[in-house]
Symmetry: C2
Subunit: 169 residues, 2 copies
């Protein structure tokens, strides 16, 4: 069989070059969204200024996050009670509790939580009660990521002592 010459089954009509146009094939996929990663940068930063409030533009500058984008993220964190805000000359955003009481999971959950697989994405009727093995595995892996985020406090990152993990496999 000549893989390069043959196309296989009903694919003969497809232009090989069309492959290049697939939107996401070949891109790497970040584990967390950009929003979640920005939120983590900001909260780690606020851990270093705690309990002194830091204005949005200072956090944006020091974390290298676009100012308007960060403002919306901080408002989202505030809506979830993770940060509070103070008006005035020395105002800004401040964590509502010490950073050793905040896990990365809490921050990520405020903005873009890691997605669980709770329903069969293939819409297979028999998988309504129990997911197929592929999606059981993917959900289990998502739970592992959530646990990693849960086991890491913001304080440990702000202090420069992130956890390392045992090799899983």
């Amino acid at each position: 069989m000549n893989c390069k010459a043959d196309r296989g089954g009903d694919l003969d009509h497809l232009d090989w070059l069309a492959l290049r146009s697939v939107r996401s094939v070949g891109r790497s996929q970040p584990m967390l969204s950009q929003t979640a990663e920005y939120a983590l940068r900001a909260v780690v930063y606020l851990a270093t200024t705690y309990p002194v409030p830091a204005p949005n533009h200072v956090v944006a500058r020091d974390c290298n996050v676009p100012r308007d984008y960060l403002a919306k993220i901080l408002l989202g964190l505030r809506e979830n009670g993770l940060v509070a805000s103070q008006r005035g000359k020395n105002g800004g955003f401040v964590l509502t509790r010490p950073a050793d009481k905040i896990s990365l999971r809490e921050v990520v959950d405020c903005v873009d939580p890691v997605e669980r697989v709770r329903e069969c994405p293939r819409a297979v009727e028999e998988h309504c009660e129990e997911l197929c093995p592929l999606h059981r595995f993917l959900d289990s892996a998502a739970v592992e990521v959530i646990k990693l985020l849960e086991g890491q406090t913001i304080a440990e990152l702000a202090n420069g002592t992130p956890r390392t993990f045992p090799h899983l496999v």
Copy 2:
């Protein structure tokens, strides 16, 4: 401090409602891209027909993946040597080796690999040599996901015996 009444620092000018317009805040983020998840569905399916080729439209129907999208994914997998294709009436796509020799990582790497954090996204000069603690942690977590994918064979999913993991934290 009244969190709901105050806006904090330089955020006074922001419309609170603007928060709703942030593109991704509040969405959950899948650990793998849709493309990678579709690729896994297809390869698990091809494990069940191996070594008989399956045409694209049959894989698409049985995996509940859009046909044109799947065709491009299968061509991507073929370009990476994971599947081969056969022309003709009984043609289609077939794995190039038994499914117990294919890990989920290999499939994902063909389309949308899990992203490592190799450079400081904050562009901090001192972090050129070594990442900051947050990004060290995130990279370490990405490595854990890659290892989970590496430790799981397609055959185990096709046989209905996905691995389960020890609790990490």
